[in-house]
């Protein structure tokens, strides 16, 4: 009888222990290998698993940080898996916001920086000198800045190219302009019209283009809005009315309708249209260059400057943005956290990450040291476009809703041909519902 009681008590204690683990823990010197007496402990979460090229790069960067700052700082990296739709990692962040278990440094996807800052999850980095700032691309600083304060520095940058098939353009006798004189919307329509017979004969379309659900749509196509002088949300990120549903944006959404109506692109996504040599153009991330080189080497690939509105004023407009490091409000040592953020986003880490994953670095020096960005005309074009014309995605705490709304209007107007003003107004209503939290 007593034994049974003992057994039960043990069981319930065990169950209790199971449910209680996950609460905050204090790490002492010696608990983790490499963490010695007198060092400042900095915990960090990254959004990937350890056994990926990306994870390996982060791990190596942390190791070299610990070597360099031996005796001063010790950074402890934890890998949190993340699924394709972004769950997993962000769920863990959300749960930890409530329980107060955030580490000192986290990675944040570029467009989420505003929301994390507005809700007090991350805090501004300690002041960087102008010299320290000048190593980063403008787009990295721009992405990390909210209300004039620098919150985050990018682990990497990204870009989207307007890729073209050289053989097809040659056949149609089309010359590609230089990066400072991109094709305008109307010029591009003429070119597509000239290309149509060529791609028709190849059983394809002039454009390999889709409006996918998810982040890609706003990432690829919001530049059309910016080059037309429009915006998706006000500068402070709190007003959608008059921005998202402006007449300028209506023009852009209608332009996408023109592309489908004239059958310059397929209304239903055709797999590998560009890669199989049946399309003249394709919008895709910088990774596409590597994909073509590795798997479709018979395609003669070129990068054309991102197209612009006829009213373009020469301002910044091309896609940018990626994961960045930021210090959380939970850290007691913003200085230490800032040091780690600077290191992880710095030149050495950027080159390492490029070597492992081919992602674009966030500092000028990294581009100078990687010969590919000088020798390979396609990588060079992507870098120059990013450097000279990169524009961050909308900075607003309700970014997720802006992103979904943009894709929905694109689909409803571009593909289904619904009334552009109705769809934009509906989106504004939805964005406003989410903004209420910040404006009341």
């Amino acid at each position: 009888m007593k034994k049974q009681l003992l057994f039960m008590t043990a069981l319930s204690l065990l169950a209790g222990a199971v449910s209680l683990t996950g609460c905050s823990k204090k790490v002492n010197p010696g608990d983790v290998q490499g963490y010695d007496e007198g060092e400042q402990y900095i915990s960090m979460w990254v959004h990937t698993i350890e056994d990926t090229p990306e994870g390996e790069a982060y791990k190596q960067s942390v190791e070299s940080f610990n070597e360099k700052y031996d005796g001063t700082y010790f950074a402890d990296i934890e890998f949190i898996p993340r699924n394709d739709s972004g769950g997993g990692y962000s769920d863990k962040i959300n749960a930890s916001v409530m329980s107060g278990d955030l580490p000192d440094v986290i990675t944040v996807d570029g467009p989420n920086i505003s929301a994390y800052a507005a809700n007090g999850i991350i805090q501004p980095l300690t002041e960087l000198s102008d010299e320290e700032k000048s190593v980063y691309l403008d787009s990295i600083l721009e992405q990390g800045t909210v209300d004039g304060k620098l919150y985050a520095l990018g682990a990497m940058e990204s870009s989207v190219g307007l890729y073209y098939n050289k053989a097809i353009l040659e056949e149609a006798g089309i010359e590609v302009p230089d990066k400072d004189h991109p094709w305008t919307f109307s010029e591009f329509l003429d070119i597509l019209e000239r290309l149509k017979p060529v791609t028709d004969s190849r059983n394809g379309y002039p454009l390999d283009m889709t409006f996918p659900v998810g982040e890609a749509s706003i990432y690829y196509y919001a530049p059309f809005i910016w080059s037309n002088g429009g915006d998706l949300i006000s500068d402070d990120g709190l007003t959608a009315e008059g921005y998202f549903n402006s007449d300028k944006n209506a023009e852009v959404f209608s332009y996408f309708r023109t592309l489908t109506e004239n059958k310059y692109m397929s209304a239903t996504p055709v797999e590998k249209l560009f890669e199989s040599g049946r399309a003249a153009f394709k919008f895709d991330g910088a990774w596409e260059v590597n994909t073509i080189y590795q798997s479709y080497s018979d395609i003669d690939l070129g990068v054309a400057p991102y197209i612009v509105s006829d009213n373009w004023d020469g301002g910044r407009y091309t896609p940018t943005g990626s994961w960045a490091y930021a210090a959380t409000t939970k850290t007691d040592n913003p200085e230490a956290a800032t040091e780690l953020v600077k290191w992880m986003s710095g030149t050495e880490s950027g080159i390492l990450l490029y070597e492992k994953t081919k992602s674009m670095p966030s500092t000028y020096a990294a581009y100078d040291q990687i010969t590919t960005f000088e020798d390979d005309e396609n990588y060079k074009a992507l870098y120059e476009q990013l450097r000279d014309y990169g524009h961050p995605r909308p900075k607003t705490p309700v970014y997720p809703q802006v992103s979904t709304s943009f894709q929905q209007v694109l689909e409803d107007v571009g593909l289904s041909g619904r009334n552009v003003n109705d769809e934009m107004d509906k989106s504004v209503e939805r964005i406003n519902a989410k903004l209420k939290r910040y404006t009341r």
Binding site: F7, S12, S19, M98, V213, V270
Partner: protein, 299 residues
């Protein structure tokens, strides 16, 4: 004393399960109910207010939720009859087959074992504009169909694929039921020169009735919970034609961080499914009782 020690042992076995269920099921359920009356926001839990029924009025005014609700009902209306009858049909066929019985059983059951995400990706290939299905259609001179990329066809396409994926499970249940029917009943019927159809209507179906009710209810609840297939295949599109309630709850809670609103949606959804299940149970039980009465009269 004996009784008491038995109950202690019983608790010892039951205890861990109870603790885990409390932590991972009951407490979250109660929290969901509480959150549904607040504006709980995942990124800033400190700012949570009690908002009364505001979330519920928001939901019923939101045309996206209405769309999601109607889509879900459409899914249920297509999937439930197809999957229930399909499973019964397959079970009857396999029961008749004498050659390679095990092969057919395994073949129809394999999709059930496969991950939904894998199956969804597989069918994306099948449904793609230049996929197998469109190639076959073109051989018959039929134009390429958009399938999951067309606002009119996406929902039925996904529903059909879901039936294909799930039907094997219910088939096995029916097969078990068929094999449990006393052969003497059929022998008796044969002596009376009953036709195959009449044997089916008067022996097989009545004997399978309790199973039918079970299958009917589980398939209905399963169909209501549809999310993975549209998430993987269409992202709820085109133009929200495959956006379901559970998908909406996920998007609201996880992507837009509005836990309060998502909780309210989950409560509305749960209440709806519970009511529907009760109605189903009452309707089917009624028939069973009648059946019992009929049997009694015949005796």
């Amino acid at each position: 004393m004996k009784n008491k020690s038995n109950s202690v042992i019983g608790m010892a076995f039951f205890g861990p399960a109870l603790v885990l269920m409390t932590v991972f099921l009951f407490i979250p359920m109660i929290l969901t109910l509480i959150y549904s009356f607040t504006d709980y926001f995942a990124l800033n839990p400190k700012l949570t207010h009690f908002v009364g029924l505001e979330n519920f009025s928001t939901i019923f005014k939101d045309d996206l939720f209405t769309t999601a609700f109607l889509n879900t009902v459409k899914f249920v209306l297509i999937i439930v009859p197809l999957q229930t009858l399909g499973a019964l049909g397959l079970a009857l066929l396999i029961n008749k087959v004498t050659v390679c019985k095990r092969y057919f059983k395994v073949a129809f059951f394999i999709p059930v074992v496969m991950s939904l995400a894998v199956v969804s990706n597989l069918w994306m290939q099948i449904y793609s504009p230049e996929g197998i299905l469109n190639t076959i259609l073109s051989n018959f001179g039929i134009d390429a169909q958009p399938f999951i990329y067309g606002a009119d066809q996406a929902l039925p396409s996904i529903a059909f694929m879901s039936v294909w994926q799930g039907v094997g499970y219910q088939m096995i249940i029916f097969l078990g039921g068929l094999q449990a029917i006393n052969p003497a009943l059929y022998e008796a019927a044969e002596m009376d020169h009953a036709s195959g159809w009449s044997k089916f209507m008067n022996i097989t179906l009545p004997e399978l009735k309790p199973l039918c009710v079970f299958v009917f209810i589980t398939v209905t609840i399963g169909a209501f919970r549809m999310i993975v297939q549209p998430m993987v295949m269409t992202g709820g599109g085109p133009s929200h034609s495959t956006y379901t309630i559970v998908y909406d709850i996920y998007e609201t809670g996880t992507v837009n961080w509005e836990i309060g609103l998502a909780s309210a949606m989950a409560i509305v959804f749960t209440v709806f499914v519970v009511i529907l299940t009760i109605i189903q149970t009452i309707l089917t039980r009624d028939k069973e009782d009648k059946h019992e009465n009929k049997k009694a009269k015949n005796r």
